[in-house]
Every structure is written in C-alpha cells, then in structure tokens.
Amino acid sequence: MNGSRLYRILRRLADIRPDECRAAAALFAHFFLVTFAFYIIKAVKENYQIGVNERWWGYFDLGTAVLIGFVVALNARLLRRLSRRRYLALTGLFFAASVLFFALIFHLIDPSTRTFFFTPLFVFVRYHPIAFVFLFSFWADIFIAMSVTQFWISANDVLNPHQAKRLVGFLVTGGLLGGIAGSLLTTGLSAAIGPARLLLFCPAALLFILAMVRVEQDERDKIRGEAEAGPGGRESKTGYLESLKIVRRDRYLRILAGVLASAMIVGQFINYQFKFIVKAQGWSDGARTSFLATFFLAILVISTVLHLATTGQILRRFGIRLALLVAPTVLLAGSLLVFALPAATLLVWTCVIRGSDKTFDNTISQSVRELLYIPLPADIKFQAKIFIDMFVNKFALGIGAVIYWVLYRVSSFAYKTTEVRVRELGVFAVGFSLVWIALILIIYSEYLGAVKRDLLRKWQDAQGVVKQHVDMDATRLIFDTIQSREKSSTLYAMNLFELVQREKLTPELMEVLDLKEGELKARSMDALLDVGGGAYFQGVGETLSDKDFEAEVREIMALDEFKLVMGKRLAEITAKREAPEVERMEAARLIGDMEPSADISAALGRLLRDPSPDVVHYALGSAAVHLRKAHLPLIIRHLGNPTTRESAQAALEAYGPRIEDILKRHLQDRGERPEVRQGLPEVLARLASQKAADILTAQLALGEDDLEPELVDALYKIRSSRPKIVFRTDRIKSAILVLLRKNYERLLAAGPAGMEGSDVRAAASLGVKRIFDLLTLVHPAEDIVKAYQNILQGSKKSGDYSLELLDNILDRDLKAWLLPLIEDLPAEERLRRLGKLARRLGAASPGEKS
C-alpha cells in the first residue's frame, strides 16, 4: 500500500502525520499480535492456577518475583551483546519454541490423553503436574512482561513524546483488538479442543511480530530524523545493576516505580479475591477456561469501547493527573463495597471490580503509564523501563505474594469461608489504593518538572540583556554630551557636570572625550558662569578641589544673583522666536538644574512647544526634573512624534504612579491622535504598578487593532519586570481569543495554497508571538517563553516537548484553541481544524470576508 493511501485510511483512525504511517501501522500490528497471544496464554494460565490448591497461589507469584531477577540479568546481558534487531529475533524464536513445548506438556497432563508409549516424560508430567503449572506460570509471566515491554520500547524508539501522545490511543486500540481476537478464539475453541491445543496458535503470532519489528526499526531513523536519533537512536549497553542504579538515583523514577508497584499490588489482591470466588463455583477445566476467556473478552470489548470513547478525551480534556487518578479512585471505592455486599452477589462484584481493574489497565492506565516515561532522556528511559516493567512489577508481585502467604498462615485462611477471605484481602486492596493515590499526586508534579528539564531558552529576553549590560540613561547622556561638544561649550559643560554628578565620567570616557585632568572642572565652572556670553567669575574652576566641586556649583546656582541673571537670560531666549537653536537648547537644558519658580515653569512650557526636536529633547529632560502638572499635556503630545517619543516617555515615567489616571484618560480617548495613544502603554509599562497593569488589561479587552501590539508589549514588559503583578485572567483570556480568531481568519482567508505564503506566515507568526506574550501573564512566564522559543526555533524533539508542556499547563479551552495553530500539521488538516474552531469562535469565514 502506498504511503498516501495508508495515510488516508489511518488519519480517520488517529491524529497521524503522513511520515508516521508505516511505523504506526507496524506498531499497531505488533501490539495486536502481542495481545492476541497474550490473551490465549493468560486464560490457559489462570485456568491451571485456579485448578490447583489455593495455598500454591502465593508461591506462583513469589516464584515469578524471585526468578525474574535472573531473567532481567540474562535479558540485560543479551541486550549488551546483541543488536536490538537480533535480540528481538532471538527472544521471539525462544518464546515461539517454548510455547510449543508447553502445549505438549499440557496435552500430556490432560487425563483424557491416551498414549501407547510408556515414556518417562509422560509419567513425570502425570505425577507432578504442579511443577509444570508452576513453570508455565513463570514462563507466561516472563512472556507477558517481556513482550509488552519490548513493544513499548519499540514505540519509544520510534516516536517522540508528542507523537506518542497523539498515537498512543491508536496503538492501544491495536492491543485491545488483538486481545479480543485471542479471547474470542479461546472462548470459541477451549471447550472443543481444550486449553493445551489453544497454545498452538501462539507461535504463528510471535513469528509475525518479528516482521513488524523489522519495519519499525527501519522507520525509526526516518521518522525521528538523523539529528534526533541522538541518544534515542543509540542502543543502550548498560546492564541490570546499572538499571537499578539509574532508578535509585532518580527521584522521578523511584516515584514512578512506586506508582506502578502499588497499582500492581492492588490488582494482585483483587485477582486473589477473583480466584477464590471463581474456584468456589466448582467448574471443570474446559468450563473454567471458557468462563475466563469470556470474562477477558468482555473486559476487552468494554475496554475497546471505553478506550475509543474516553481515553483520548480524558487525556485531552483533563490531562494526565486526572487520567492517572481514575483507576485508583474507582478501585478504592469498589474495594470498600465488598464489606457491605452479601455473599450471593460476590461473583458479580468480583467480575465488576477485576473487570474494572483490567479495563483501566488496558485503557487509560496503560496509556498514561507509558506517557510517564516519555519525558525521560532516551537512554535512561530505555533502561528504567525494562527494569521497572520486568523487575519492579515482579518485586511488587513478590510483596503481594508474601503478604498473601503470611495472611494464609497467620489468619488460618484454609478454614475460613470464601466471603471472609475475600473481605480480609479487601483490607489490603484498600490500603494499597490509598498509597497509589498519594504517589500519583507526587509524580504529577515531578512529571512537569521532567518535561521542562529538556527545554532550554533559545535566546534571552532582549530587553533584559540590554538592561543587564547597558545603563541606558548614562548612555544617552554620553551621546548627548559628545553631540553637544560640537554645538555649544555651555551645553557640553552642563552635560559633563551631569556625568560627574552621576559618577559616570570614567577614565575610559574621559579618554574618549579627550579631557585632560582639571579641564573638566574648569569647563564646567566656566560654562556655568558664562551664560549670556561673558565670563562671570573667570578662573574659579582651577581653584576648586575635587571634593568641593559639586557642592560649590550647587551653591552658585542657589545664589539670588545667579537666579536673577539666569531668569533674565532664559526670558530673553524663550521670548524671542529668532533665538538660535543652540541657545534654546542651552536654556532647555539649564532649566533642569534650576530651582522651580513660575518664571522657570513658563519658560519650560514655551520650550516644550519648540519646533526643534533637539530643544524639546532637553526641555523634556528638564520637565522630568520639575514634574509640573501643567506640563503634562505638552509632554503627552510629544509621544506622537518618533523623535521625541522616547524622551517624553522618560519624562512621564519620572512623574510616577500619580499620573496613571491622566494616562488612562488619554489612552481611552479615541479622539486622541493614534500615535500619541500608541506611546502611552510603554509609559504605563515603565510605571509597572498593579493599577498600570489593570489599565492596560482593560484597554486590551476593548480589542482595538491600532493599540494591540503596544498594549501586548507593555503587558509583557510588566510581567518580565514585576512577576508579582496579578492580571485578570478573564480579560487576558478573552484578548487571547480575539488574537486567535484574527489568526484563524487570516489563515482561512489565505486557503491551503496561500497559507504557506511568506506574508501570511509572517503575520501569523507575529500573531502567535503576541498570544504567547499574553499567555505569560496568566501562566508561569518562564515555561511559556521556553515553549514559544522551542516551538519557533528548537529541534523537532524540543518542539514536541514544548507542546507537551503547553498541553499540561494551559487550561482545557485555551489549548484546544491554540494547539491547532502551532502544531506541525499538513496545511489541509490545519485549515479543517481551524475552520471548525473559527465557527465556534464566531470568526468570519473566508466567504463572508470576500
């Protein structure tokens, strides 16, 4: 089947991409075949176990728990020595051959089997059936653990976290269908051919699995790409002890092991309860195998229906935590019920509770359990998964078996009724359910941490970088100083003096300015006393010491004579329109150093109306010192001019939070020039108060296109500089929805062909950036920034981790709206989804737009 045809079929069943089809189909078939064989073997195994005395049940589990260590060690050695492909082939052949052996053994155990040959094997088997039931139980447990583990290792090899999350439901469906097929076969044939002959179907399934593994391994590199192969593509060569160390070292893995172990023990006690109740029915081998197969079939059918209807939905809508909690909560409630139910209803009760346990195991628990491994680094994941699935699970089984054995001995189980035995086992099921719930709550917080561990910032916030390395006020002053040197010695001296005051006149800067020792003081003093053209106190500069320099200047400026002279001079300059620009600049600059008065304020007002942007720049600097309310309208007006905007913003910032209401009025005033309104959000961002954030948020909620970029930028700056500011979630969310709707409309209007056009993509990309900026206001900002950067510029793997992170931290609605916009989707599929969402958001369709 060619790729596009396969894609057309599979995309109806799963959220799949064209390049994933072959691998996904092979994994689906692989899991189908595993569970097909698994459910035949499982029914046969349980039938033989129930058939023996119940005192052996604990030993079966304990034996498996103890011996599994050796199998894990052998398995690790095989993995070290063999390539992944060869290892899978050899283990597949081993299981195929050994299942044939057990088919022969159980055929000989069957009392109806007649043999004309008196062979030692026949005699041994007939007289020691318990040994073979024990051996088969152990073998079946190994097969089940290894085949399922190998399947998920293959899936983890081939798929990255986000792919896995999309496809896990599809793969689990394959497993469920395989189990249904195996159970149907067992139900239909067990009475007719007996349990032993049923095993003969398994070798064929195991050989088909080998073919699927080959396809998966071929697809692995293709689907993950060369760059992604990294550690995930490497085959780990670490051994069993190393696996144990890995799990011991990592807190996340220890908790994960605890979650799986407690789930295992709960299931085990529920299983013991089930066996007691089924044994009490007194059925024959064939009838019991048939009942067990029918029971498993019913579980699988229910599992499949539930899985198709709910697993994906639960994961998408409620996330991993709730999905993890469903099983232990229901089992806890079910286990408590046993203390209230009458004996006659126990068969129904046990079928329901074991059915629930297995149904959860097949559906939501399995899907979520596998997702918990995904954030781990590939090499650790591989080792840990084998260790936990094959050792920790069996270790838990061992603990359960020991508890059962102690209970059997201490509590004189053999002499109690089935009802009492079931209730005593129920106490342990309840206790371990509570442990399971507690561990889930812990691991969820660790899961997000593990996902984030792999996400690094691609670049630092540029505003922060500039702030960290550059003193912007001093830099502007230095450039003004250098520029003023060409224009006016007075202006130059005043700027130099300000540099001294701010302690920014470093030796390096003096070298750049070509200043000699002592020249600075002379220039400053001369200039200060030279206003109006003639020197006022010639040579004073040279007589001053460094220490007294600043104080002396201040004293001179406070002199009544000085104020009088300066006042006259300022009045002259500002009154006559034809005064040279440089004099107006000097006047505008000098006002900032003078004591406030009505005359000074009036002069500053006139200079703030000056046509020269250089004069206005100095006047705005002085206005930032005097902070007169009367100057505010003049300052705000300069926000509309790009050449004076920055100086006006700095001046308004100097007024502080007391002008927030004035800024708000101008921002809300639709009659105000758009350029002026666009300059206001930056001022509020610099004030960075709760009130400023509220004003910006309220304005954003009005949805004015002209102001949107500036408002979003300003809010983002407040979030970056003041993390404790609280933003109104409802308003931010509705603003995000407005941005989403605009993006949908843009892409839908462009259509599949135009969507890839550079203009459309650029606009969409800016739109997405603003959405992420807003998301930082109502979610952990660092997580959102990392997710955005990695989606934009990260590898495929880090992009998928980002989507996974967003999937877990965004609320249900937001992620449903946002993800189709940023996920890697074919153009047509993206448009289909956006079209649906746009209709729900009430966005205009392309037809309406045209």
Binding site: K458, W459, D461, A462, Q463, V465, V466, H469, V470, D471, M472, A474, T475, R476, L477, I478, F479, D480, I482, Q483, T506, E508, L509, V512, S612, P613, D614, H617, P642, T643, T644, E646, S758, D759, R761, A762, A763, S765, L766, K769, Q789, L792, Q793
Partner: protein, 115 residues
C-alpha cells in the same frame, strides 16, 4: 539620513548614509523600517554603518529598540563597518556587550549562518 535596503539570501541589509540624529530624521525611523521588515517575516538584519559618522542619543535608542524587537522574535540584528570613534563610544557605554559588531560585511553575513 538616508537608508537603502538590500537583500542577501534572507538577510536584510540596511545601508545607512548620514547621521542617525533626532534632527536628521526622515519619513520613517530606523526602528520603524526594521519593524516593517519583521512584519514581513524577515528575522536577520544587518545595519551597515560604513557611511555613518555619528549617532546621537535618539540614534542609540533606535538601534537598541531595533535590536530588542528583532531578538524578541528570535531574529538577529548586527552591525558592520562602524567607525573607530563610534566603536570606542560603544565600548565605553557597554553597547558592544549587547550588539554584535563586525569589521567586514562578508564575515557579518556569514555569521548569520545562512547557506
């Protein structure tokens, strides 16, 4: 001041002629020109300062605003052929710790890592 735009691969080069001063501003400021390129999806920007004698405090603000806008979208803004005098001032003010500055246009273009 006059700014001409040219392309090299997907890098936008601004050839700036004159001084970036408040009083010499043309219809569009440098930052506005950079923003319009960003809106068109361009992310790599090189400012050619070969014919720039001086910038004032307004000019520095424009350069840094352009740098911030570009970087926050995952892009890069770099400078080339800046005069020795200007470079010294950039050093003193710490701007060289933020802005990538190259002597040679080829080296600057290569540094964007475009094929």
């Amino acid at each position: 001041m006059e700014i001409r735009t040219r392309d090299y691969n997907s890098i936008v080069i601004f050839d700036i002629d004159g001084e970036i001063r408040r009083s010499d501003m043309t219809d569009e400021t440098l930052h506005q020109l950079v923003k319009s390129q960003l809106e068109r999806g361009r992310r790599d920007i090189l400012l050619n300062f070969e014919n720039v004698e001086f910038v004032d405090s307004f000019g520095v603000g424009e350069i840094l605003a352009s740098y911030i806008s570009t970087n926050n979208l995952g892009g890069k803004l770099k400078l080339v052929r800046i005069s020795k005098k200007l470079y010294l001032i950039f050093q003193v003010t710490g701007l060289v710790r933020v802005l990538e500055i190259y002597d040679d246009e080829d080296a600057a273009l290569k540094s964007f890592g475009r094929p």
